[in-house]
């Protein structure tokens, strides 16, 4: 077999690239402890934990966080239902509209966020719908569907058709077949898709700025802070927390779908 050892140059290039992707994030962790609060001075003049306490006491941070969590939860729920329905329909029958559905589902995430954002805002204006919690959810759910859809479709493909026939043959009607055979076999894919959808919604900023009106999700809060900084280290602390929090669903989604033919997350 052709040599299994990579050339040294390749190893260095690959390793350097990987490092390049992670160092900036690690940097933020350090900045969260700095004593300097007026600039981004490096190296940090001192290290302290006090900013964590300060952040804890900022009501606007909590408000933004709780809104983000609520929006992410509901959008994920909606995306789970719609994504699964679409995936089930597309995988069940070979009808001509399959490609169309796939395209429609992927469009919200394929088009630039600003296009989706402005289109949704235009639609809300036309329909005289005031900005609210639900307009944010509507926007988020729309592009979260594709994440669930990709995971579900890949898994449906693996659930062989003869399993459904076997279940019916053994006496299970349509609902029982869904509950006892189909659902258990797609559960982990749905879970993975749901987690990724949650992470996606939690982090989204572009479409949200167009659909949020006066409200602040955590990313919008952060954007405000970036443009008009109040207390830089507080932003650093929030950034640190956000990175850690999104870490978890990604890791979980990975372990849930590891070893299968579509590992979660590649469909972004």
């Amino acid at each position: 077999m052709h040599s299994d050892r990579a050339p040294m140059g390749l190893k260095i290039a690959a390793g350097a690239g990987l490092l390049f992707m992670h160092l900036p994030l690690l940097l933020i962790f350090v900045y969260a402890f700095t004593t300097e609060d007026k600039s981004y001075q490096w190296p940090p003049p001192g290290l302290t934990l006090k900013w964590f306490a300060v952040t804890w006491n900022r009501p606007d941070v909590w408000a933004a966080l709780s809104l983000s969590l609520k929006v992410a939860s509901i959008s994920t729920a909606v995306a789970l239902v719609l994504g699964t329905l679409c995936a089930a329909a597309v995988s069940r029958s070979h009808f001509f509209g399959r490609e169309v559905i796939s395209l429609m589902v992927i469009l919200p995430i394929a088009l630039p966020g600003i296009v989706t954002g402005i289109a949704l805002r235009a639609a809300f204006n036309l329909g005289d719908i005031p900005f609210s919690f639900w307009t944010i959810v509507l926007g988020h759910a729309t592009f979260c569907v594709v994440v669930v859809y990709n995971n579900a479709v890949a898994r449906f493909r693996r659930v062989s058709g003869s399993l459904v026939e076997a279940a019916m043959d053994l006496g299970a009607n349509s609902f029982q077949t869904f509950r006892y055979v189909i659902l258990p076999n797609i559960a982990t894919a749905l879970l993975a898709g749901g987690m990724l959808a949650f992470a996606l919604s939690f982090d989204e900023v572009i479409v949200t700025t167009f659909t949020a009106g006066q409200q602040q999700t955590l990313p919008i809060w952060m954007l405000e802070e970036l443009v008009r900084p109040r207390q830089r280290p507080v932003t650093n602390v929030v950034a640190l927390v956000v990175v850690l929090v999104t870490f978890i669903p990604i890791l979980a989604a990975y372990y849930l779908t590891r070893g299968t033919d579509t590992v979660a997350g590649q469909g972004k």
Partner: protein, 333 residues
């Protein structure tokens, strides 16, 4: 067959069309209760579609299907007293073996203790008594096949359908399973409907065989009937590659312009034989040697047993057969 016979499955004028394609074309058949019925034919001949029509996975475009006298029109699979052993076994990957087997009982609402006991008993029947806790992925092909069988049998179906269940097994395992299935069927007395493309399998296991060709039944009869007295050139060729003598040759032999079937083992190479042929190939096959010859423009296969002289390739030989071994075929194709 004992009289009076109950008809387990009956097809009357059944057709299944897919657009222009006629997968099943006007089939009539009556399967008797308690018999081991084989549906034999090449791929695309309609045998699997017929099986699926009995199971309920397909609906007939035309004709009536009855199971024990009740019409199955519009009846979904989960309401038929019929169970299937699938070609790919279709075991539920998320359940262990005993839960797989007990599945049918579970959806029927049988209480847990009872259905687990029944499942264990059936697993015992197929000699997988201690395998209950395993997952299907941890089983070999032969073991999975037995689980599929147990899963179907535990529901005490009145008809058991088997869709080429032995196809994925190696030769030795296949022969062993053939014996076991036959014994099982005798013991349980259930009607077995078995689909296969392997004619040896069909002939050795079945009480009656239906040979399918292009959506129709070419011949229906006992294994001996099919083997020794094929009706049509297709059946003769498909089942055991009998020699088909075309009408022009038959005219010289018996004076009638019909097709004739002659089994390879019936041909005798005799110096005083009435027919002449040229040897083309000889193949040693173990118990016999297959000699292919050209006689009157027709390819003739002869199986020469050990102990008899094997002619050289290219040699001219004379051959003959007993009159009763030549079967005149009255059917059309």
């Amino acid at each position: 067959m004992e009289f009076p016979m109950t008809i387990a499955v009956s097809f009357r004028g059944v057709s299944r069309h897919y657009g222009q394609v006629r997968a099943v074309d006007n089939v009539d058949v009556e399967i008797v209760e308690g018999e081991f019925f084989a549906m034999l034919g090449p791929s695309g001949s309609g045998k699997t579609t017929c099986l699926r029509l009995i199971a309920g996975f397909e609906q007939a475009t035309r004709g009536e299907i009855e199971i024990f006298g009740t019409s199955m029109a519009g009846v979904p699979p989960y309401r038929r007293a019929v169970n299937t052993v699938f070609q790919d076994y279709a075991l539920f990957p998320h359940l262990n073996v005993v839960d797989n087997v007990a599945f049918g009982l579970m959806v029927a609402g049988v209480p847990k203790a009872e259905r687990l006991a029944a499942a264990e008993a059936t697993l015992d029947l197929v000699q997988l008594a201690d395998y209950g806790a395993r997952k299907p992925s941890a089983l070999s092909g032969g073991q999975r096949q037995r689980v599929a069988l147990a899963r179907a049998l535990v529901n005490k179906p009145r008809v058991l359908l088997l869709d080429e269940p032995l196809g994925a097994l190696d030769l030795k395992l296949r022969e062993q399973m053939q014996d076991e299935l036959k014994l099982l069927q005798r013991k349980l007395g259930i009607t077995f409907v078995f689909v296969t493309h392997d004619q040896g399998e069909a002939l050795s296991m079945a009480d009656r065989v239906a040979v399918f060709n292009e959506g129709r039944i070419a011949q229906l009869g006992s294994p001996e009937d099919i083997y020794y007295r094929p009706n049509t050139p297709f059946v003769a060729d498909f089942v055991g590659s009998a020699n088909v003598l075309p009408p022009h040759v038959m005219k010289a032999v018996i004076g009638k312009e019909l097709h004739g079937a002659l089994r390879p083992e019936a041909i005798k190479l005799r110096d005083d034989g009435p027919h002449e042929a040229t040897v083309r190939t000889t193949n040693f096959m173990g118990a016999s040697t297959r000699v292919t010859m050209l006689m009157d423009g027709v390819q003739i296969n002869a199986d020469i047993k050990k102990g008899h002289a094997i002619p050289q390739v290219g040699a001219k030989v004379r051959l003959g057969w007993n009159d009763e071994d030549l079967h005149v075929m009255l059917g059309q194709e």
